[in-house]
C-alpha cells in the first residue's frame, strides 16, 4: 500500500454521514461511511483475538443508527469533515464533500426501480447478494459485474468512478470504505477500477487480494497490452476484448471464497502414492523438454497431479491459480485438444505464452497443460502430449489418478474420515475437526480436506474461510510492511466463534489452520492439532507434489 501521497492535513479521515429511507445498502448508506485513505488503512485493527468470527468485523466502526438525529426520509444531510474551515478553499472543499454525499444518495436514486426489462439492479435479490464485485474503466464505463447486468449498473459504476476520482484530484487515494453492513474495497490498476462490496466480513487485505487476482485474470486473458488501447481512447469499451470471459472471472471469485489457495497463496496437490506421482512427473518433464515448453502441469480438476517447471523460472502459485481457473472455467477446452494464448502475470505480464490444453481423461477431469513461448508450437506440443499420454497409460498413472480423483466428493481431496480419530478425524459425529488447512510454504502447497457435513452449505464454508483469513490477518499483521523474514512475532492464535473454534499455528516448516467444533477446549484443540501435524508430516510425500 502506498502512503505519503497526501500532504499533511489535520484530518486523515473523512466521515460521511448520510441517511436515506431505504434499506441499508452500500449505494445508499443508512449509517456511516468511513473512508480509509492511503496511510490510514493499516491503522485499522482486525479486532484482535476478540473477533474470531465474521461477527467481530463490525468492531472498530461506529454504527450510524445510534449516532444520528432523526432525518427526513429521503434527505441526505449532516455532513461532517474534520477539516477546519479556512475560507474560500474550504467552501469549495465543502461543496465537493457535499457532492460526494449527494453522489451516494443519487446512486440509490439511479438504481431505484425503473428498469423495465427484468434486469433491475435494485431488486431485493440483487441487493441481498452478500458480495458484489464490479470492474469499470477510469472513464466510469462498466466492464464487469458479478451479479446482474453491468449495463444496468452504469449509474452505480459512474458513482464509483466519481468517488475515486474525487479523492484522486486532491492527491489522495480511496482504498476502502465502510457503508452500513458493507465493506468496500477499491483497487486501481492502470485504466481499470476494481471494486468489492462485501457483507461477508473478510479483512480488507483479503478483499484487496481477490481484486488483485481478478485483475490478474484479466491480464491472463489480454496481457497488459490492453492498457495501450485506453491510452489512445479513454472511452474504450474493454468488453469488446473480454467478450465471453465473465464466467472465468465469476469462477475465480467463487474459488477465492471457497478454496484456500488464494488465501494461502499456494496450490493443492491431488493426494497420490509418491511412486505414482513420480511416474507421472518423469514423462511430463520429458514432454516439456521435448517440445521446448516452459511449463507443464497435469491437473485433476483443480488439483495438481504433477508440475514441471524450470529452476530459473518457477511458476508462481498465484499464476498457477489463474491458469488453473482459466482452464477449468472454460468448458470448451473439454471438447478437443486446444491451443490458447494465456498470460501469466507474475511470470511476464506484457506477453502471452501459448497453452496446449488436452483432457486425457474426462471422468477424472485429468488434463495436461503445456505452455510454450512460440505461437507456432501447437504441433510440437500436441506430439509431445500424445507421447505423454501413452507413457502415463503404460505406467498405470492414468488409472491411479482416476481411482484417486474420480467419483469422490471433493475431486480426490483428502477426506476427514481418513484422518485418524486421535488427530481429530473420523466419521461424521466423531471427528472433532470441522476442517483444516495445512500449508507447506517451502513447496508453495497446502493440503485441505473436502468440505463435508456439517459444512454442507456454502455460507458455512465461507465462514470457515473467513475464520482462516482473520487468523491469518492477525498472525501476519505486520507482514505487509515488507518482505516477511522469519516467523511472525505471534505464532499461535486461538479464536472461539459462533460457528467454530479456530486454532492457527505458524511453525518453521508449516502453517496449520484447524477449525474445530465450537465447544472444543483450547488445550484439547492444541493436542489434537499437534497429532494432526505429525500425521500429515508422515504422509507428506503422498500429499505434496515434488517441485
Amino acid at each position: 500500500m502506498s502512503e505519503g501521497t497526501q500532504p499533511a492535513r489535520p484530518a486523515d479521515e473523512l466521515e460521511l454521514d448520510t441517511r436515506t429511507d431505504s434499506d441499508a445498502d452500500f449505494a445508499s448508506p443508512r449509517s456511516f461511511l468511513t473512508l480509509d485513505k492511503s496511510g490510514g488503512a493499516s491503522e485499522r485493527t482486525v479486532g484482535g483475538a476478540a473477533s474470531p468470527s465474521s461477527s467481530g468485523l463490525g468492531s472498530g466502526y461506529r454504527s450510524g443508527e445510534d449516532s444520528l438525529p432523526d432525518a427526513q426520509p429521503g434527505s441526505a444531510h449532516s455532513l461532517e469533515s474534520n477539516r477546519q474551515p479556512t475560507g474560500d478553499a474550504d467552501a469549495a472543499s465543502r461543496g465537493q464533500t457535499e457532492m460526494l454525499r449527494r453522489a451516494l444518495s443519487n446512486a440509490e436514486a439511479s438504481s431505484s426501480p425503473r428498469s423495465e426489462d427484468g434486469r433491475d439492479p435494485s431488486s431485493r435479490s440483487w441487493r441481498a447478494q452478500p458480495k458484489h464485485v464490479f470492474i469499470l474503466s477510469s472513464a466510469g464505463k462498466p466492464i464487469f459485474t458479478r451479479h446482474g447486468d453491468e449495463n444496468a449498473l452504469a449509474g452505480l459504476m459512474a458513482v464509483a468512478q466519481a468517488l475515486v476520482s474525487f479523492l484522486k484530484d486532491r492527491g489522495d487515494q480511496l482504498i476502502s470504505a465502510r457503508a452500513g453492513k458493507h465493506q468496500l474495497v477499491v483497487l486501481e490498476r492502470g485504466p481499470l477500477l476494481l471494486v468489492a462490496a462485501s457483507m461477508l466480513g473478510e479483512p480488507i487485505q483479503v478483499l484487496s487480494l481477490h481484486l488483485e487476482l481478478l485483475h490478474g485474470q484479466i491480464v491472463s486473458i489480454l496481457t497488459r497490452a490492453f492498457e495501450r488501447r485506453f491510452q489512445r481512447d479513454p472511452g474504450f469499451d474493454a468488453r469488446t476484448l473480454l467478450g465471453g470471459t465473465s464466467s472465468v472471472l465469476k469462477a475465480l471469485l467463487h474459488t477465492c471464497e471457497t478454496d484456500p489457495s488464494s488465501l494461502m497463496q499456494a496450490f493443492a496437490a491431488l493426494p497420490l502414492p509418491a511412486a505414482i506421482r513420480h511416474a507421472a512427473l518423469v514423462p511430463l518433464h520429458a514432454a516439456v523438454k521435448a517440445a521446448g515448453a516452459v511449463f507443464g502441469v497435469l491437473l485433476a480438476g483443480n488439483l495438481v497431479v504433477a508440475l514441471a517447471q524450470s529452476r530459473a523460472n518457477p511458476l508462481h502459485p498465484l499464476d498457477l491459480l489463474l491458469l488453473t481457473n482459466f482452464v477449468t472455467a472454460n468448458g470448451s477446452f473439454r471438447q478437443s485438444e486446444s491451443f490458447s494464448p494465456v498470460c501469466l502475470p507474475r511470470f511476464n505480464s506484457s506477453g502471452f505464452l501459448h497453452a496446449y490444453i488436452n483432457y486425457i481423461h474426462e471422468d477424472a477431469d485429468l488434463c495436461m497443460v503445456l505452455l510454450a513461448a512460440q505461437p507456432d508450437a501447437f504441433f510440437r506440443l500436441s506430439e509431445a502430449g500424445q507421447q505423454l499420454t501413452a507413457e502415463l497409460q503404460a505406467a498405470g498413472a492414468i488409472q491411479a489418478v482416476c481411482e484417486a480423483a474420480a467419483g469422490q466428493e471433493g475431486g480426490g481431496r483428502l477426506r476427514l474420515q481418513s484422518v485418524p480419530a486421535s488427530a481429530g478425524g473420523g466419521e461424521f459425529g466423531q471427528a472433532s475437526l470441522l476442517h483444516f488447512v495445512y500449508k507447506y510454504p517451502s513447496r508453495s502447497q497446502f493440503v485441505s480436506p473436502a468440505f463435508h457435513a456439517p459444512l454442507d452449505n456454502p455460507s458455512d464454508q465461507q465462514s470457515i474461510m473467513q475464520a482462516y483469513s482473520h487468523a491469518q490477518a492477525i498472525l501476519f499483521r505486520h507482514a505487509e510492511d515488507g518482505p516477511q523474514l522469519g516467523l511472525p512475532p505471534h505464532r499461535t492464535c486461538f479464536e472461539r466463534g459462533s460457528k467454530c473454534c479456530l486454532l492457527a499455528y505458524v511453525g518453521a516448516e508449516y502453517e496449520i489452520y484447524a477449525a474445530f467444533h465450537c465447544l472444543m477446549d483450547k488445550a484439547a484443540a492444541a493436542r489434537t492439532c499437534h497429532r494432526l501435524c505429525v500425521w500429515l508430516k508422515s504422509r507428506q510425500n503422498d500429499l505434496f507434489a515434488a517441485i
Binding site: A103, G140, S165, T240
Partner: protein, 206 residues
Amino acid sequence: MAARKRTLLKVIILGDSGVGKTSLMNQYVNKKFSSQYKATIGADFLTKEVQVEDRSVTMQIWDTAGQERFQSLGVAFYRGADCCVLVYDVNAQKTFENLETWRDEFLIQANPNDPDNFPFVVLGNKVDFEGGKNRQVVEKRAKQWCAQKGGIPYFETSAKEDINVDAAFQCIAKNALKNETEEEMYIPDTVDMNAQSAPKRRTGCC
C-alpha cells in the same frame, strides 16, 4: 459464438446553472418534470436503454452541476465521453453566450482524439416559457453558432412540456455512435524467453 455487441455511451450534459439540464434528463429517463428548482450538486448519474436503428444502446448520462464551484472535477468527469450535450435557456442571453466557454472547457478537459469532429449536440431549452414572449435568443442565431462550430445538431426543447426531448436524445445517441472508433486487431506480444531473465529471488508475496 460471438457475444452480442452491447454498446454503452457516456454522455456529458453541460451548461449554466438553471438552464434545465437535470429536468431534461429527468423528463427523458423518468418522464417526470418538477417546476421546483433544485441545484445539482456535483453530478447526477442516470442510465437509459435506447434503440438506435437496429442496435440496443445504453446511455450513461452524466448530468453535471452548472455552478462554477463544482468544475474542479475536471478530467475525471469528462474522460472517455462519447458525446457532449450543451444546454442553454432560450430566455437568457448569457447562458447562450457561455456555450462557447462550456465547449472549450470540455475540449480541454476531455482532450478527445479528434476535437474538430467530436460529437456535440446543442439544446435550447424552456421554449414553452411564457409562450415565448421573453425569448432572448432566436432560433436563427443559435443555428448560426452551431453551423460555425462544424454543424452541431440543434434542438429547441421544453423539459416541462416534453417537447423534442426524445428526438434530441435520439440524435445524441446516434451521433455518439458515429464517433465509435473502429475495431482494430488486438495482437499482444509473445513472451521472449531469451529476454526473460531469471527472476531475482524474492521472499514474500506480491
